[in-house]
């Protein structure tokens, strides 16, 4: 009994939490062992973040007990949790960008760390411990995403953390940075630190985790050693039904050339030329920062270019602004859904209609009836889950928000649909639906340019793949004939 207790660092028993209208957590129990990497998976809204916020002290639980390191924890605050040895690394980092790395690690504890000199000295040691050579005097604003993550991890270690919770730690890392993160996780585990690893990406769960807890709709469905599970089983438990395939059958509708891009040059891009065929899904593969997003933004007229020649259906077109791009029949689903895609405080219907306002006109005025009808059509066509077309879009799940953006653009009947990270942060079930929408769009005669950091997604959906590195196109592949390894090699440049 005694021994068993000391083997468990965190024990959550029968915890419940309700918000007005939703039971976010319902009788949730799980135990995290010492020195174990424990994964939590579940679709959006499964209760992962609520649980995490209860552990850190942002929310107070309604019922149940939490025992951390032998101590029962009733009410706590984020700072208290840290001091007890429980750190959380959020998806959006909580670093102060105008301060240095060292200052961030020992924020509010300079005196304990022994003044500025001690701060930088100790920060350096912590960073070295995880094999990072970031200079402790650099400002956080100058760091890459992966470096910021290193700083967060060092900060967690500085509290002598016994448990580190990582929320979607890989969401914006490149493959290379991911390997490094894996090394650090293994190293921390062998140092006796437990890790609660929350992720959408099942590959990582299989690679890093010893045990996994699957959550759905506020319940724990099961906790199992990872090696006892296969992918299909795990996905099935997450969505509550078995999904036969993660991807639909690859569409084959590619026809004659539709758009020719030549000599596209910007500050970052070097003489990009390629052709997009009608009915084709063209995938762009490259590391974050290689220039994938820059290419599509430049084509669409969202960024300044030095040179670009574009032909659509054999005719030269001038695209100087997104407005021109839209007129040429291009649709643009941006990579950052919340910042660039949605108007969060507005209704579902006005988010759908915002690229189609002309269609709503009745004489001089906008017709609310036409707007409602347009939204209702898209809601049933794309299976968007929303209480009503008039509901504020911020309350929808990520997948449904993304479907609204896609619906907005399908309504324009685009020739070319540009999709930049269309499934980022979206759960498995909704992903599949988005793939089906892509398939439907090419069936209807549109062409798609697909950018994604998830290699399997690009490889399974595209008819052709272009690899991009350092602002150049470095190769063209048929994903059905070439291995992922080969493509990745070319994308690294």
């Amino acid at each position: 009994m005694d021994r068993q207790l000391s083997d468990v660092i965190l024990s959550v028993e029968h915890v419940s939490k309700a918000f007005p209208g939703v039971k976010a957590l319902d009788d949730v129990s799980l135990q995290v062992g010492r020195g174990v990497v424990h994964g939590i998976v579940g679709e959006n809204g499964a209760g992962k973040s609520t649980l995490m916020k209860i552990l850190s002290g942002v929310y107070t639980k309604d019922a149940g007990t939490v025992v951390f390191d032998g101590q029962t924890i009733e009410k706590t605050t984020p700072m208290e949790s840290l001091r007890r040895g429980l750190s959380i690394i959020y998806q959006e980092f909580s670093l102060i960008s105008s301060m240095t790395v060292g200052e961030n690690i020992f924020l509010g504890r300079f005196r304990e760390a022994g003044g500025m000199r001690g701060t930088h000295q100790k920060a350096k040691e912590l960073l070295e411990q995880i094999g990072s050579s970031i200079h402790t005097g650099s400002y956080v604003s100058e760091l890459s995403t992966s470096e910021k993550q290193m700083v967060e991890i060092a900060k967690a270690l500085s509290f002598q953390s016994k448990l580190i919770i990582m929320d979607e730690p890989s969401s914006s890392l490149t493959e290379e940075e991911l390997t490094k993160l894996g090394d650090i996780i293994r190293q921390m585990r062998s140092g006796g630190i437990s890790i609660l690893y929350i992720s959408h990406k099942l590959d990582e769960i299989f690679e890093y985790c010893d045990v996994v807890t699957i959550m759905r709709d506020g319940h724990v469905i099961d906790t199992r050693p990872v090696r006892e599970l296969d992918r299909r089983e795990m996905v099935g438990m997450m969505v509550g039904r078995t999904i036969e395939n993660e991807y639909p059958e690859r569409p084959h509708f590619a026809g004659e050339p539709l758009m020719k891009v030549e000599h596209l040059t910007t500050n970052k891009l070097k003489d990009i030329s390629f052709t997009l065929n009608r009915g084709e899904i063209l995938g762009f593969v490259g590391l974050v920062g290689a220039g994938r997003t820059e290419i599509v933004r430049a084509i669409y007229g969202a960024d300044k270019v030095k040179r670009k020649e574009i032909q659509i259906e054999g005719e030269a077109v001038k695209i100087m602004s997104p407005r021109d791009g839209k007129k040429c029949g291009i649709a643009f689903v941006p990579e950052d859904r919340k910042q660039q895609g949605l108007v969060l405080p507005f209704s579902v219907e006005s988010n759908i209609s915002m690229a189609n306002l002309k269609k709503l006109k009745k004489g001089m005025f906008l017709s609310p009836d036409k707007e409602r009808k347009m939204a209702e059509e898209k809601i049933s066509e794309l299976l968007i889950k929303t209480p009503s077309p008039a509901s504020v879009i911020v309350n929808l799940s990520g997948g449904n928000q993304q479907k609204c953006i896609i619906g907005r653009w399908l309504e324009t009947e685009p020739k070319i649909l540009i999709m930049d990270e269309p499934t980022r942060g979206i759960d498995v079930g909704a992903k599949y639906e988005i793939y089906m929408l892509m398939k439907k769009a090419v069936e209807a005669g549109s062409s798609i340019i697909l950018i994604s950091s998830e290699l399997p997604e690009v490889l399974n959906m595209s008819n052709r793949v272009l690899t991009i590195a350092d602002g150049r196109i470095t190769g063209e592949f048929d994903p059905e004939k070439v291995s992922a390894q080969e493509i990745m090699n070319r994308a690294i440049g």
């Binding site: 997104p322 941006p334 660039q340 949605l342």
Partner: protein, 320 residues
Amino acid sequence: MDAKTRIGYFVKNNLVLVTIMILAAVTALIEPKFLTVANLGNLMNQFGPLSFVALGMTLAIIGGFIDLSVAGIVSLSAVFTISMIDVLGQGGALIAGLAAGVAMGLLNAFIVVSCGALTQAKALFITYGLSAVYSAAALLYTDGATQHMSHLASRTDLFKAVGSGRAGFIPASFLLFIIIMALLHVFLTRTQTGREICLTGANITAADLCGIPVKRRITLVFVLSGVLSAFGAIVLFSRITTASPLLGANYETNAILAVVVGGTSLAGGRGSVVRTMLGVMLVILLSNCLNLLGVSTYLQSVCKGAVLIIAIWLDRRRVK
């Protein structure tokens, strides 16, 4: 839903209206004359210049900006219009004055757009700077002297009608205000351009990527704010028959106060000119009530500030 919760909802959603009713009731109890026809006409009269500036400010704030230049625009367009009465006649002067408002709005928009200052904070400083420029131009134009309308030889009945004419007990300026407000309300809620202004104000990046001509919409917002401020200036000097080159001082803060108290969100995109009318009404009633209570002007400023802070706090809570 029982009666109690229904009242609760009504109070929550119409806080401004409820406050206005309470203030009116309190004032009526203290001062029985408050409810006479003459006093109601008086109250409507007080809507005057500020209400027009506040309408323009509403558009600017819904479009995602705060136009601090309105103080300068009021000063410069007032002294400019009054000096043009002798040169162009009253009709010509009126048009020239409004054109000056349009021109200053265009200049605001041109500088904001060409500097790429497309965030509220950046544009705030540009319009603040331009306000100083317009105020200084008004001082230079007049050599610092107050301009008088009554001393001029020309006919001024048009301006008199705008400033202090009445239809029955309703002041002409109030009628004009109601008409312009109704037009703007329809414009914002029912036209494509109006919707595009709201979308631009709420998320300029998303609006741009959807093909909405955001720069043109921003320009329109500043032009409307400029021309409405110029109109407010005309109403103001017509009523007092003089225009000092410092006439517009503090108009920007009072206009922002009215807009935000009315419930238009400083975050952009959401709001309405009708709410602004309620905001203006609240500001007027508040000072009326404080005057009747014999509160000193210094303390009245404190009250205004407190009301603004409460309004912003309520707005933040609504966002969450």
